[in-house]
């Protein structure tokens, strides 16, 4: 992992200090990150999940997206998930595992302020608002 990715991981560990954070090198100086037991929102089943994502080697210039959570995520009200959600496999250090992909691209990313930790918080906030 390069210095920028290491710093991003440290910021995630700090911002989510009560949560287990798994980190594995992606083989290109980036990292696969999985933060456990995060609240997705009471409208979802399950309400909590791990959230995984990849920080690539050109971070902070490269966006951090998409994010992944438990597979087969549904709304408790039986409503359909919006088009940002889809069922895919989550890349990681081992075999890809089934997951719900949440695609939230940052159209106005500012590499000086938009960190991977902030992006995760924004994704969780967006999910809870849906």
């Amino acid at each position: 992992m390069n210095a920028a990715v290491q710093q991003a991981v440290a910021e995630i560990r700090s911002a989510y200090s009560g949560h287990q954070v798994d980190v594995a090198p992606d083989g290109q100086d980036g990292a696969f990150v999985k933060v456990h037991d995060l609240p997705l929102g009471s409208q979802y089943a399950p309400e909590r999940s791990w959230v995984a994502f990849r920080i690539t080697f050109q971070y902070p210039f490269a966006d951090v997206y998409p994010h992944y959570c438990l597979p087969n995520l549904v709304r408790k009200d039986k409503g359909a998930l919006c088009s940002a959600f889809s069922q895919k496999t989550c890349p990681g250090p081992g075999d890809p595992e089934p997951a719900t992909m949440v695609s939230r691209r940052s159209n106005q990313l500012n590499p000086t302020t938009d960190t991977a930790a902030l992006k995760l918080a924004k994704v969780l906030d967006w999910m809870s608002s849906q």
Binding site: F61, Y65, P66, S86, S103, T112
Partner: protein
């Protein structure tokens, strides 16, 4: 012994010159904080910041000479340089024009002060520059000894070079370059012969620029590309033969023979090497088979004098932009685009574009101008398998329309701007900005530049990589490469 050279962006140089030569004929002072770039070719001192020494406050009467930087000023700026990991160069001016040198008083002051400054800066170089009109001399103090500065390069739309004295005569150019030397002059032709130029991407655009640079007499080219020739490149790849693309195997219906064809096909940089050698047998050529996003490859470009970007990935744009700013190398991004509606086949606004990128705020930074999409950076880092797993990502293997004549429009504009700017022949009041030709309208348009002073590449802030040289890492990954002939 490798030579030491100094590079300074034209806005910083203008600010320094305005202070040193306000028209009063008096002596003035300043300090330049520098990053360092070391290569087998030379050690470059990269001007990052200029600290103006205010007359009678920071630049005061001296007991041993006429004037000197005040001790408070020296302590403050050297402390800043030490904290930032930058070198320290004191600057003053003498009268006269076209030649300059240090006085015995100057040299004595170096001997008194610079050993201690070297200790404070923990290994970064210290030294001094003395300017006259159209001349500069320098002394570089390092832990290995004291060295003369070879020359100073002002990096701007026009590249300007200053020496301790103006060379009196140049050898006559080869008859091979007679007609163009009537425009460039023997001195200009000599500059081209000493120039080391980088080209990222040796496909449809890069192969054109490669041949033209070789033909005009550029002395050294570093060509970087990892791709092999394919039959679909043949209509655009300068110098390519059907054999290079193994057309007879690649066009067979059997997948095994197609695969063999791809395996045996020639790398684009090897074709470019062959073309360049035919045009200029005496040039030095580095055919680098590899990806510029690999750190080892990108570092091969850090000591070029000019850099062309002819590859169209967001990743290569980011590395190019970092090289330009971090190592103070003037650059040019070249491309053309033919948008075609997939459903109807309708041809959209066809354009060719040249984007000069110079290493300072408002110099054309690709980040500031929104030309490095952050989502594409992320997508291009994925393997083909991972891209397919995400499914919604556009397949990078899908061929985009491309035509050699459209490439040539952008390349000719870029190569001309390089030649004129590198040899100092552009008008100083020429309009800045990118240039786009909308071919279907037969219309050239200028694109005004945007800039962000807080940019991590071109900005003035403490976190910017501008002129940091070897101190910070390029936005690259680790990996291996293959080097070609020289």
């Amino acid at each position: 012994m490798k030579k030491f050279t100094f590079r300074i962006a034209s806005p910083l140089f203008s600010r320094l010159q305005s202070h040193l030569f306000p028209g009063d004929g008096d002596e003035h002072g300043a300090v330049i904080a520098v990053g360092v770039s070391k290569s087998s070719r030379e050690t470059r001192l990269l001007a990052r910041e200029v600290f103006i020494a205010r007359d009678s406050v920071d630049y005061v009467a001296s007991k041993r000479g006429y004037r000197a930087l005040s001790s408070d000023f020296v302590v403050r700026i050297s402390d800043y340089c030490a904290r930032q990991g930058l070198g320290y160069f004191a600057v003053h001016c003498h009268g006269g024009r076209d030649s300059v040198g240090f006085s015995p008083v100057d040299l004595a002051s170096h001997a008194r002060g610079y050993p201690a400054l070297l200790d404070i800066l923990s290994g970064e170089p210290v030294g001094a520059l003395v300017f006259a009109e159209n001349a500069v001399a320098g002394k570089v103090w390092t832990a290995r000894g004291v060295f003369d500065l070879d020359h100073l390069v002002v990096v701007g739309t026009n590249v300007r070079r200053l020496h301790p004295f103006v060379p009196s005569s140049m050898p006559s150019s080869s008859p091979l370059y007679h007609r163009q030397s009537l425009m460039f002059g023997d001195a200009g032709q000599e500059l081209l012969g000493k120039a080391k130029i980088g080209i990222i991407g040796l496909g449809g655009a890069g192969s054109l620029i490669n041949e033209w640079l070789a033909r005009v007499g550029v002395g050294e080219i570093v060509a970087v590309d990892f791709e092999k020739a394919e039959p679909t490149n043949h209509s655009r790849l300068v110098g390519a033969t059907l054999w290079d693309a193994q057309f007879f195997l690649s066009s067979q219906r059997w997948p095994a023979l197609q695969k063999l064809g791809r395996l045996l096909a020639n790398h684009k940089v090897k074709i470019a090497h062959r073309v360049a050698r035919q045009a200029n047998p005496h040039m030095r050529y580095h055919a680098v088979v590899g990806d510029v996003t690999l750190r080892e490859i990108a570092m091969l470009l850090k000591d070029v004098d000019y850099l062309f970007l002819c590859a169209d990935t967001a990743q290569s744009r980011l590395v190019f932009n970092a090289l330009v700013h971090q190592y103070q190398i003037p650059g040019m991004q070249v491309g053309s685009k033919v948008p075609v509606d997939k459903a109807s086949g309708e041809v959209g606004e066809v354009f060719a574009v040249t984007r000069p990128v110079l290493p300072y705020v408002n110099g054309g930074c690709l980040l500031c101008n929104g030309l490095i999409p952050t989502d594409r950076l992320q997508q291009e880092a994925l393997s083909e398998k991972e891209r397919k797993a995400q499914a919604y990502v556009e397949d990078a293997q899908v061929s985009a329309p491309s035509v050699i004549t459209l490439n040539a429009v952008a390349c000719a504009e870029a190569a001309n701007e390089f030649l004129l700017g590198y040899l100092g022949l552009l008008h100083e009041n020429q309009q800045p900005g990118y240039r786009m030709q909308y071919s279907r309208d037969r219309d050239w348009q200028r694109v005004l530049l945007r800039s962000d002073p807080g940019c991590l590449h071109c900005g003035n802030g403490s976190v910017s990589v501008c002129a940091r040289g070897d101190m910070v890492a390029l936005p690259c990954r680790s990996g291996q490469t293959t080097l070609g002939g020289t």
